[in-house]
Amino acid sequence: MSIPTETLSEAYRLMKTIREFEERVNAEIMNGQIPGFTHLYTGQEANAVGVCAHLDESDTIISTHRGHGHCIAKGAEVAGMMKELFGSSEGLCKGKGGSMHVADIDRGILGANGIVAGGPPISVGSALAAKIRKNGKVAVSFSGDGSVNQGTCFEAMNMAVVLEAPAVFVIENNYYSEHTNISYAVGCDDLKARTEAFGFPVFVADGADFFAVYEAAGKAIEHARAGNGPAGVFAEQGRYHGHFVGDPQHYRGEGELDDLRENHDCLKNFRARMAETGELDAATLDAIDAEVMAEIEQAVTEAKAAARPTAEQVTEDVYINYGAGA
């Protein structure tokens, strides 16, 4: 599989953007600048980027509570996201959604979602629309290893098969749902097999390896786009942070986090591969790094200076039009 250089540099840029976005968000939460509940995607960047590299703006994704990475990978504007996290009225959602509800419908981002497994049924709807319109679009939903035990997730998978809808289910195994390991919460020994038993193929990838995810997601999305019904991607990669900022992470084994950062890093892996193949040289990657750092810095500066919402805005945006009675 040969990937165009532009795609490669864009993928790297997005992964780096997610990484630095999240690390900075972490710092700003510690500083007390970002309110609410925030869940960081650091470590899992290749999942989002490897999947979204196959999508265009009118394909849709729907995300989870851990949504920043998915949104950035699908093209959400970084400054708009940062402003949203800071609660500015200039944020992507005017400060009404925050981290758990970042969305950008025009870019096919049907939202992060604060309800575990809230997204997959909605994604099936988007896929169904594509099927009815015969427009070749696909609808991707992301789920965690914990989320797959929620009834709505199962229903969505079966429904997608029944409706032969181009829905792609991306399952991100980061080994934990909050403080519980997948080996406890998923009763069976083989989650991939349990998923495939619903009647669609699932392609597995190392979530620290952009190329592996890219390849697996390519197969799944191609399967769905071609009208063969749903498909799945199963990517394994731990998160670098706690479930939430401040999580004491009692569930970690000794050296687990160090090992993750040391040996399971999509950015390092990507650079190593580039060094091997020579497709992108270190200077190019360094330049991207610098641009990303500047972009994040700029986003935070803007977010801190951005307009704050006002009380009148509370009751706006509930309805498009609430009619005569309102």
């Binding site: 049907l110 309800i115 049924p121 909605i122 169904l128 629309a129 429904m159 945006d317 039009n321």
Partner: protein
């Protein structure tokens, strides 16, 4: 004008909307029927027959599903987010229990949480209410519960004419709409024009006009209240009867104006009393029409119990003409 049942009136509205707009589709359990079987796919049209005929005309837009209500509502919500106009059927309003998140945390809140940048023009239809000896899990109104949730519009028609016009408005509406069809009224007929027409949301109907008492009733209680009021007219008591038709938005103006004129209010709904629509309207009047009130605001509703099975019990459970008349008299005394 032809007499049509509420079932047929809604069916006609669905046909007209689908005819006009390719983005409209119906989805639900057995809305076509017989899929996968040796029989005639499309022969069912929903267990109450409301989607009859749609599959045969538009097979690609009449979509049967497994028994997965969350996925049904989700499918409607997601399709609507990308520009379709789905009309999903949830067989009984009671089944909101298994799909509530998709309705109240997803569909209802998209636009707000996304900063006003999305639209979700989905309609979810439900059969609702008591009167069938269907017991605790197949008899609930549920629209009072859904009225609580900002972001939803909630429709409860009381006759075939309104049902058609409200359904056409619901499908054309750019916000998510929940459409509760009192199942005991499906067979009730009245004059319904063949043409396409709409009834705006948030505009109450004045079903009766009178001077002594304002009666507000919902859904299947509207015809019961009308009959009770007609009987009281013979005793010289004259009442306004207001059918809000949509509980969200609510036509507060119509209710308050009437109460200001009569000074007396009775609210009738089939749901149990706590945190329901009868309290909602009573509370409205106790604030905004307080100065006009001349007597206690009476609520006529079911007691604080689940719906019982036996016909005698259900008859005692649901509000009826006698209870409505007694309440009207009580507010006058």
């Amino acid at each position: 004008m032809a007499q049509k049942t509420m079932r047929d009136a809604i069916n006609e509205a669905l046909h007209q909307a689908m005819e006009q707009d390719e983005s409209v589709f119906v989805i639900g359990e057995d809305v076509a029927g017989c899929n996968g079987s040796a029989g005639d796919v499309g022969a069912v049209g929903g267990v109450f027959g409301v989607t009859t005929g749609i599959y045969h005309r538009w097979p690609d837009r009449c979509i049967d599903t497994p028994i997965s209500e969350s996925a049904i509502v989700g499918a409607a919500a997601g399709a609507a987010l990308v520009g379709m106009r789905p009309v999903a059927e949830i067989m009984f309003a009671d089944f909101i229990g298994v799909c509530m998140d998709q309705i109240v945390n997803q569909m209802a809140k998209f636009r707000y949480m996304f900063g006003g940048k999305s639209r979700c023009p989905a309609v979810i239809r439900f059969s609702a209410g008591g009167g069938f000896s269907a017991a605790g899990q197949h008899s609930q109104a549920m629209y009072q519960i859904m009225t609580s949730f900002p972001g939803l519009k909630v429709v409860v028609p009381s006759n075939a004419y309104d049902a058609k016009g409200l359904m056409l408005s619901a499908i054309a509406d750019d916000d998510p709409v929940l459409f509760f069809e009192p199942k005991i009224l499906y067979q009730e007929a009245c004059e319904v024009p063949d043409e396409h027409y709409t009834i705006p949301f948030g505009e109450a109907a004045f079903v009766r006009e009178g001077d002594d008492v304002t009666v507000v009733a919902f859904g299947q209680m509207v015809p019961k209240a009308a009959a009770a009021i007609d009987e009281l007219a013979e005793e010289g008591i004259s009442c306004d009867l207001i059918d809000p038709r949509t509980t969200s938005p609510l036509d507060e103006g119509a209710i308050l104006e009437s109460v200001e004129a009569t000074g007396r209010l009775v609210v009738v709904d089939e749901a149990p009393p706590r945190c329901g629509l009868t309290a909602d309207i009573a509370g409205l009047a106790a604030d905004k029409a307080f100065a006009s009130l001349k007597g206690p605001v009476k609520q006529v509703c079911a007691p604080h119990s689940p719906t019982p099975f036996a016909p005698e019990l259900e008859a005692a459970y649901l509000p009826d003409g006698d209870k409505i008349k007694a309440a009207i008299k009580a507010t006058l005394s």
